[in-house]
């Protein structure tokens, strides 16, 4: 590993750590070093064992075998509190702040500074202010957390970890909800932390982003460590190769089929911004999508992609413009009517908007097409089973069958259920909002292959993404959105730099 001395030496080590749940081995003897004052990134697909390892290191669960060394001495923690007392803090992807409380109250939640007369708010406030100064964030300690931007909330989480003198900070997907400029702020904070000797364990699906900040890379696959190397020796291709175990390609635009007539036409569409009155999230936007065509919609968070897609799907009201499906205006048609006419949306957040957790895989798959297996008053179980089995086969969902609980599927397969549900309605136009969010690279490729096949059968496809790499895959056209408007349009031969510049990313960075 990199040189001896204080910086770079292994501060936390996992030795042959294994974890099994029943018969299933989540981790099979992993060795993992965290280097002092450096960032160690853990790469791996969903289910590779990243989160299990992080839970072990932060005291959430205990390993079934192996040991953990802190500063060279074996330690065993039985809870996150014990781990925290030893200087190990974890920041989860889902922030664990109380939105109704102020920054100060959140930072001292559960360990308030008390005097004989009660909580010493003045002292708490002073310390909070000092922490914010250290992190160079202008956040008032008395601001309610719900008034902060997501990136600032993340900073509050970091401040909270620092306030308990964390020496080792574990960050699980910290950038997944941040805009490019917020990511920059976070990276600056991480660099400051490194300079102060804080060691960071970083997990991210954004490979390129992680490469910018990391000093060491460790790759997990199927519960074993497949590779590790310092930053200087690796590149993106190395990570992907070790994660997937094979050469991997998100595909290219499908060819050899006829591009048909305009399937979806958006004419001067405006959608009001839900958070700020008077502003428009989508501003007088026009767009055409043809049958058999795949269009990629790229943009930063807040560019208006989700608002546009949800408005076309009927979820959000529009403030102006028209949406035409195969030449006919949709007007005020309900979501159900739009689905019946062949326009469907696969939403961004599959847990919140896509899946019904209390229902089985089959019931989820058939939810949007109940009408197709209802005869008169009653549903036909046989027809429903046929529909479900066809869907599972077509979308290649790995499951025990339609009866399986939705929670038993991996993230990628859950996403395929949401896609399969909408494809089962036999749509003409399918819109997918960030279809690759939170799924591993293998599942991503399968989702894109599905879309490409759909297009070859004449389906019009539009998908949004915030990863440039995904634009340059199956899309025939790449449309870049910025502040509610289309800022540029490219063919499949565009470069990443061009796309990022059009989105406004390059300006910020």
């Amino acid at each position: 590993m990199s040189g001896a001395g204080t910086t770079g030496e292994a501060v936390l080590q996992a030795r042959d750590v294994a974890k099994s749940y029943g018969n299933v081995q989540a981790l099979k003897g992993v060795n993992f070093d965290v280097h002092r004052g450096q960032v160690t990134t853990l790469f791996g697909e969903n289910g590779a064992g990243k989160s299990t390892l992080m839970k072990i290191l932060s005291g959430v669960i205990r390993p079934s075998a192996g040991e953990i060394l802190l500063d060279g001495r074996p330690v065993a923690f039985h809870s996150t509190t014990e781990a925290r007392d030893l200087g190990i803090s974890i920041i989860h992807q889902e922030l664990s702040l109380a939105p109704n409380l102020s920054v100060r109250d959140n930072i001292f939640m559960g360990r308030e500074i008390t005097t004989a007369t009660g909580v010493d708010y003045a002292e708490e406030e002073r310390q909070t202010r000092a922490l914010m100064e250290e992190l160079e964030e202008e956040i008032d300690p008395l601001t309610p957390v719900e008034d902060l931007r997501l990136g600032q909330q993340q900073v509050v989480e970091i401040a909270r970890a620092l306030s308990v003198n964390a020496r080792i900070l574990i960050m699980d997907e910290p950038t997944s909800a941040l805009s490019a400029s917020e990511v920059e702020v976070l990276f600056k904070v991480i660099r400051d932390l490194k300079a102060r000797g804080v060691s960071i364990v970083y997990i991210s699906h954004h490979l390129e982003e992680a490469l910018q900040i990391t000093d060491h890379a460790v790759v997990l696959r199927d519960g074993t460590m497949t590779a590790r190397a310092p930053r200087s020796e690796i590149d993106l291709e190395w990570i992907v190769r070790n994660m997937v175990g094979e050469n991997f390609d998100l595909g290219s635009p499908p060819e050899g089929h006829a591009i048909g007539d305009v399937a979806l036409k958006i004419d001067g569409l405006s959608v009001p911004d839900a958070s700020a009155t008077g502003r428009s999230a989508v501003d007088d936007l026009s767009l055409e999508l043809r049958a058999g065509e795949i269009v990629c919609l790229y943009g930063l968070m807040g560019a208006g992609r989700t608002e546009m897609l949800e408005c076309i799907a009927g979820r959000l009201p529009k403030s102006g413009g028209r949406v035409l499906l195969e030449g006919r205006e949709l007007g005020r048609a309900s979501i159900a009517e739009r689905i019946a006419r062949g326009l469907v949306l696969v939403p961004e957040d599959r847990q919140r908007d896509g899946l019904v957790q209390t229902m089985s895989v089959g019931e989820n798959l058939s939810l949007a097409s109940i009408g197709a297996f209802t005869r008169g008053l009653f549903t036909s179980r046989r027809r429903e089973r046929e529909l479900v089995e066809t869907s599972i086969r077509d979308v290649t969902i790995k499951t025990d069958g339609g009866q399986a609980a939705i929670g038993s599927l991996s993230g990628g397969n859950q996403q395929k259920v949401v896609i399969g549900k909408m494809l089962a309605t036999k749509p003409r136009v399918v819109m997918l909002d960030e279809p690759s969010r939170g799924i591993d690279i293998g599942a991503k490729a399968e989702v894109f292959r599905l879309l490409a096949e759909g297009a070859q059968r004449g389906l019009a496809v539009i998908y949004s993404t915030s990863e440039v790499g995904e634009c340059l895959s199956i899309a025939h056209r790449i449309i870049v959105m910025r502040r509610g408007k289309i800022s540029a349009e490219f063919g499949p031969d565009a470069t990443k730099e061009q796309i990022m510049a059009a989105s406004g990313e390059a300006v910020v960075a």
Partner: protein
Amino acid sequence: MSNSNIGVIAMTDTGTIHKRTRGLFGNGFDLGRLLLEGRAFFALIAIIITFSMLSPFYFSTGNFLIMASHVAIFGLLAVGMMLVILTGGIDLSVGSTLGLAGVVAGFLMQGVTLEAFGVALYPPVWVVVILTCAVGALVGLVNGVLIAVFKVPAFVATLGLLYVARGVALLMTDGLTYNNLGGKPELGNTGFDWLGFNRVFDVPIGVLVLAAVALGASLLLNRTAFGRWVYSTGGNARAAELSGVPVKRVTVLVYVLSGICAAIAGLVLSSQLTSAGPTAGTTYELTAIAAVVIGGAALTGGRGNIRGTLLGAFVIGFLSDGLVIIGVSSYWQTVFTGAVIVLAVLLNSIQYSHRRPASAAKPKTSATQGSKA
């Protein structure tokens, strides 16, 4: 995070139970799971056995039928309540709706005097039944519209209707009770007591009404698109909406159905008593909720079935009647009923916290799933 910790422990526990019972009962048989999922059924058996030992009068067809006709009232309310709870709502107004329905039926049976025409109308019983159900549906409609369209929390909206419906019932009778619901042959409106007193093959009509309503609700839930919409609305309203489920319409309809169920219960009760008092059914909404919960439905919506709800109603009914038969004071009855409800909710939370780790058993999904969710 401690959650998943508990989950892991719970999971390994069932693992051991599984292994232990597999040898005894053959493959795939899990005693712990069976006891947990069939808890309402086993509780009912236990209640019947216990009271049969304590009282010689308990275990007889006659007594069972009497108890069943008591259960019918709660059962009818519980079926409607169940539909509402499946969507993740609650209907606190059913007890008052029951009282109002009884009073409306009583009012109609006394004859409606139209002073403008100088005539008194005596509607036949079937008209009374339909009009009463319409009143129940109206209460439900108001509930449903308040909740689905105006986004009033279900708890508050139905609490309001609880007061309004009860108040209207009191106003209509000035606090008094309609006593003579038998009707008169010369007016052609006899037969109201048929619902409460008559028997078909020795089974009280009220019980048959419950059976018919339960069967209808079961078909509705399991075999129609509407049923699937109800489950999906309760499981995840946002996902249901994006899948084309008319969530608002579904919400309004379940409250209307609940109101109709309450009205039917009101008819059966006032027929059993041959009188209709404005305070009938006070606090029955709580009994109905208890029956649904004992039957294993989740108050958060999306989980539950009619069979469980009926069992829940029978558990409560047979328990409280049994306590009366063996002469336990009514104060103790209240304590027992409360204890049963708490125990049921406790078991519910064990069952449902149990399911999530079942998926965590596969680390392929669990490890990332937990943090993604």
